[in-house]
Symmetry: C3
Subunit: 302 residues, 3 copies
């Protein structure tokens, strides 16, 4: 299958100008955690994929301990797994969740943005863009089963999904909190949030870097449902069944109708967005802030 | 008056490039149901118009049994009636409601989209566009008195109004449920819904083809008011009085300010939108789906 | 400092094409009301500025009795005060409030729009635009402490702020009520309201000229917080502290990200917007309406 997928990837890349993957991490096929009878296994060490072909549903579990930061490898493996699922007619929906207790994803990997080369920054940023574009426009039904705290890039992944189920644990806050670190959410993070909670809520949340605990997250609409922690997965499966009851083709075209104008804004200026990121991240003041922040994190661990 | 209206229609058509009516069904003038003293009567067999010149208010009652489907004739008669009211300075507001018990309108007439010629599809689609443009930008205050179920095109008509009053009957759900039939709401249906309930609610509602029962319809904002079934008309009249308290010219310019950018998106690509519809509706798979669906409906009736 | 500020203003004007101030009222430096130790005093007779350099916060108090109408002088002094605060690194936030009991601001000064020359109308409108652009894009945290009724232009000033605290007094309604006077809110007033409360709420509020009393204002989101009347200032200070906890640079870029597209719509057509205003305000019917209205106001006072 790998080769067939490869050929499809190529064909799709020719059609989608924005779809240049970073130097490919080969789509390793490994054992899926808990893979049993009838479960087709692919995925990679950091992006587990459990599949239930009978239901047409896969589960992507992020496993990059301790905090599921979105390293270049994780981003790349995530995109490859998603592409495989999209190209395999068996699958119509995917649940995105975390394999790291208490944390959905801490977001972008700051070590990828600090003390590296310009070429590395560009490659990393393109991979972030790619994941967003793939998830936001995925033909699959994508449900977020948010089983942990979900700041910044972790929140972004949730926002790209079609539906968000959050575990009712007061520690599991969710939001785009970039300003708290002295940085700014990119315009397409902003667009995704505005599309979800509206302009005013987004304006306040982004400026203050708000992290919403479950009840408030539900109230402002940054998640769709809050359930007891042990029911996140079953709730996501129930929601999935409802979305899969809709004919795929009509649902996919409708999703595209809603989201393509937003995605196109990035597609049309993808390189400019990378240049903007390079300028921003290369500033001495930003590099210094990141170093200080990373040193603190290391001391905590140490 | 007919001639004067005709001349005005011509003048307006020259000004509005989008305003080419389909081959005109002449604006028949018939007796309005229940028309009494001082009630000016026009309208047509399927689009009854009752008028109260003293109040400056007309009521348009759709009467195309059994389900008020929006046939080419209904669409054409609706636009003509609306145009007459707009050109008659006596009238400042119109209430749109149904004369068919339990159903506001089932929406577009699928028989107009199945097994007909390309030319017919094009004529039909242009008439759908025309009704939307006329209603959405009408200089009149337009209030929907929704006294029955209101899916798809029935919901669209409601959404073009300035205010929506829904009868509190659990059967009277409202929504753009196109995906349930395997079809996709056009971009301007989508725009109208987004303008009413916001991006996120629209995204979910459109993908799942949600039909909202009264309480939920009110909660998400797809209607403005829910009242006991026997009070729909009186509630619509009360609302009308409030809207008519505003100076017409200022209100009309403000309405235009809010809605013209959305309408212009269709006006600018009206022919392309028709071509897109032709391509879509001509597909074998879509024609087959429609035939199967229509056969089922016929069996139900039979 | 005045000269330095002057130089900065010049430099900024060159960068910002929209930033031509009307013939300058010199930035008079007067005693601030209640100015005590450590309080730097600037401002002008109608736009009092009280400062707390230790906290980095200033308070702008409008004082144009009896109703704080936004005369050309008030607009000009307001912009100059704001510019001074923005250019003085001491200040990071400003609270906008009223020195006139019971009224935040009655909005634009109708006497500036009635019986004057075209040149005057143009100068006045440019000043209205300027205040909106300055406030909406201000680098400072701007909090509205709304201690009185706030119609039309008074509401607009509130809407440009980052956060709105309204005194819980049933008389203190807020809204863009232009249609009640037979006039129309400009497109950028409309944009600011849509960004705050969403398209549908804005559409209804603008057409009906709705003035929301406190509880309803909070419910629709036209204000963020309603507090007892004697706590408006302290509540605004608490909110300010929270916003000032965010690093300035990240917050400012984020604010710009959210608001610049809206501001740019005016900047790109600023002269056309003035021409549109001139055409509108010069109409005999509008001039007559304004004269009638102003005569009524004078009779009330007399």
């Amino acid at each position: 299958m790998a080769l067939m997928v490869g050929a499809r990837v190529l064909a799709r890349n020719l059609l989608r100008p924005w779809s240049r993957l970073p130097d490919a991490v080969p789509g390793r096929t490994g054992p899926a955690a808990g893979g049993g009878d009838g479960v087709r296994c692919f995925g990679s060490p950091r992006v587990l994929v459990e599949t239930d072909p009978a239901k047409g549903v896969a589960v992507i579990k992020l496993k990059n301990p301790p905090v599921n930061s979105l390293s270049l490898e994780v981003l790349t493996e995530f995109v490859i797994s998603l592409e495989k699922l999209e190209n395999d007619k068996t699958f119509r929906g995917v649940i995105v969740t975390s394999d790291c207790p208490g944390i959905f994803s801490a977001g972008l990997d700051l070590t990828e943005m600090c003390g590296k080369s310009q070429a590395h920054y560009a490659e990393y940023w393109r991979a972030v863009q790619e994941l967003w574009l793939r998830l936001y426009l995925s033909n699959l039904v994508v449900i977020a089963a948010i089983n942990g705290v979900s700041p910044a890039g972790g929140c972004l992944i949730s926002l790209t999904c079609d539906y968000r189920v959050l575990a009712d644990n007061p520690k599991y806050s969710i939001g785009l909190n970039e300003t708290l670190l002295g940085i700014v959410a990119p315009s397409w993070f902003k667009d995704t949030l505005v599309n979800t909670v509206g302009h005013r809520t987004a304006e306040r949340a982004l400026q203050l870097g708000l992290l919403f605990p479950p009840a408030e997250a539900l109230r402002v609409g940054i998640v769709d449902q809050v359930v007891p922690e042990d029911q996140v997965h079953s709730a996501a499966l129930s929601v999935m069944a409802r979305w899969l009851a809709i004919p795929d083709h009509a649902r996919q075209l409708t999703k595209n109708l809603m989201r393509k104008p937003t995605a196109d804004r990035l597609v049309k200026q993808r390189d400019a967005d990378i240049q903007y990121f390079l300028q921003f991240i290369s500033r001495d003041s930003i590099q210094k802030s990141l170093r200080v922040y990373l040193d603190k994190l290391r001391q905590k661990k140490g």
